[in-house]
């Protein structure tokens, strides 16, 4: 896709999100959650580039969230610092667990991640003395860039930050895909043996991608935790991980922007389906099945096709 037109689409989307949220204040929390989800989904999109899906990546969001909660409770650090620490914690965990994970492909990769995430989930639920058990951990609203804000102001500041981070993360992931490392990552999907013959270690390439994806999930998890002021083991349940993969396919995994489109659609379908029917999983499940058959490239795939087909026409995508 022409990068100019894409930049316009992104600018329109960012402006739309900012405008709508300032217009309708109660939308702040759902929008923040969608952005946090979107960041985690960019992490999953990195793995999908290599043809791998993880059914346990919510564990990194969960780890980062608990990191934020623990540090926030113990040291009362600034929100910016908490986000950074949460992300680093998740990336470090990803780097360590990744050393094992890079040996696996396909279903085993997906499910071994799931097993690790279930270990974390069970530990968080069982050792209640330290982790608050299934009720989770609550923490006070930290200062933001050194300023103590009321809830309203804090959410606006966090929202602006999350939007900025979303654009940066999306751009960075797309940039990464164009580097040698990113190209090699895509080759893991198409032909891993050939990659090895080129003298590139597939495992090392995949390990770096895994660490990156864990960090991105951690970034999403940190923002999610700060939005809620509460972390629970549910953040890391395997169904949650499945949802993240679902969002990636819904939005379109060919481009990082698909992560955010998917996350917004997911959040709002969930919001409205839950309000109207209480059966949001039912609605989303049916949406996903229809998507796989009708538009396997996701929403962004559809938009991209439109943009390609009508070069003269305007940009066809608002959320």
């Amino acid at each position: 896709m022409p990068s100019m037109r894409l930049a316009v689409v992104v600018a329109v989307l960012v402006a739309a999100v900012l405008g709508v949220t300032l217009w309708v204040p109660w939308l702040k929390t759902p929008v923040l959650i969608a952005l946090a989800d979107g960041l985690a989904v960019t992490g999953v999109i990195v793995l999908i580039r290599a043809g791998q899906v993880s059914f346990g990546h919510a564990m990194y969001a969960c780890l980062a969230g608990y990191g934020v909660a623990f540090i926030g409770r113990a040291l009362h650090l600034d929100a910016l610092l908490l986000i950074a620490l949460g992300t680093v914690a998740a990336a470090l965990a990803g780097a360590v667990i990744g050393m094992f994970m890079v040996r696996y492909r396909g279903i085993f990769f997906g499910m071994l991640n799931l097993a690790f995430s279930m270990v974390l989930f069970s530990v968080l639920g069982k050792f209640g003395a330290v982790t608050g058990g299934t009720d989770g951990l609550r923490f006070d609203r930290p200062s933001f860039a050194g300023v103590h804000l009321e809830r309203e102001g804090f959410e606006i500041a966090l929202l602006a930050l999350a939007l900025g981070l979303a654009v940066i993360a999306g751009w960075a992931v797309q940039y990464y895909f164009r580097t040698v490392d990113g190209q090699a990552l895509a080759a893991i999907k198409t032909n891993e043996t050939r990659l090895e013959y080129l003298g590139i270690s597939a495992k090392r390439v995949f390990w770096r991608a895994y660490t990156l994806s864990a960090g991105l999930c951690g970034l999403g998890g940190s923002i999610f935790a700060l939005t809620q002021g509460l972390v629970t083991p549910e953040m890391g349940y395997w169904v949650r991980s499945g949802e993240v993969v679902f969002i990636a396919v819904l939005g379109g995994s060919a481009h990082a922007i698909g992560a955010f489109i998917g996350a917004f659609v997911f959040s709002f379908v969930k919001l409205y389906a839950a309000a109207l029917l209480t059966a949001w999983q039912l609605v989303l499940g049916l949406v996903l099945i229809v998507m796989v058959f009708v538009a396997p490239t996701g929403i962004f795939g559809l938009i991209e096709k439109r943009l390609r087909a009508k070069p003269a026409a305007g940009h066809g995508g608002t959320p």
């Binding site: 059914f55 690790f116 639920g125 796989v292």
Partner: protein, 301 residues
Amino acid sequence: MDASLILLALMDGVSYAALLFLVALGLTLIFGVMRILNIAHGSLYAWGGYFAATLGLAITSLALPPALGLPALFVAAIIIGGLLGTVLEFFLLRRILDKDPILQLLVTFAAFMVLEDLQRLIWGVQPIFVSDVVGQLGTLEVAGVTYTRYQLLVLPSVAVIAFLGLRWFLRKTALGRQVTAVTHHREIATAMGVNTNRVMWLTMALGGALGALGGALASPTTSFTPGIGAEMMVLSFAVVATAGLGQIGGAALAALMIGLARSFSIYLMPELEVLMPYLIMVAVLLVRPEGLFSTVATRRI
């Protein structure tokens, strides 16, 4: 830990392993034939259990002879497994055989989400627990430990019969040989005149019924709540992955391993109970990435 506690843990472990094995058997059979990991399998377990409980309640409220309780469990499993298995196969799995593995996993995940919510709409969120069958069969005393006949005799024998029956079916009957042929290579089996669609439908119905049977047999001793399907899904996958995907005999051993590890940890280190299956799975996969019993040739993912 004294002798009677060890015996109790052994019996707990074996009866739990029997249930786990039934569910895992269905999952591994479906994977063997379709090459799709059916994430909705956990829902079949939950639906089987809920439906069995509903039948159990109906027997009481209609004042039917209580002896019908035990057969009703099997009837429930066959109805649910056959019905849901057929629906899933016909509307979803048959249509995604050639799709990207990521999409295949996601479609069954979507089916799981739909079934979870439907189950919540049908049976509500209150725990359901119908244990008349266990009471009817009474208890048994083994070396000073009292245990229910249902858990000590019925569950393990059903698991053993299912295991031997499936082996006999796959090895000795014409239809079973066709299933095995499709497991080895779908296209070549089709070229040889095997009706692949029929084999896949049969597999889904049979595999689904095994999953539902696990749930139905668990219903007299477990209270069913929303989320139980999600839990069983990962547990049965842990069994299947520990054994090696598509390994039927291995699944029996892996189920016993995980069942016993779990029951012993309840008595020795209760905090580790829920962790045990995953720790075993992680430990096994780290050493043998394809599971304990699989050979490289049998795995074609």
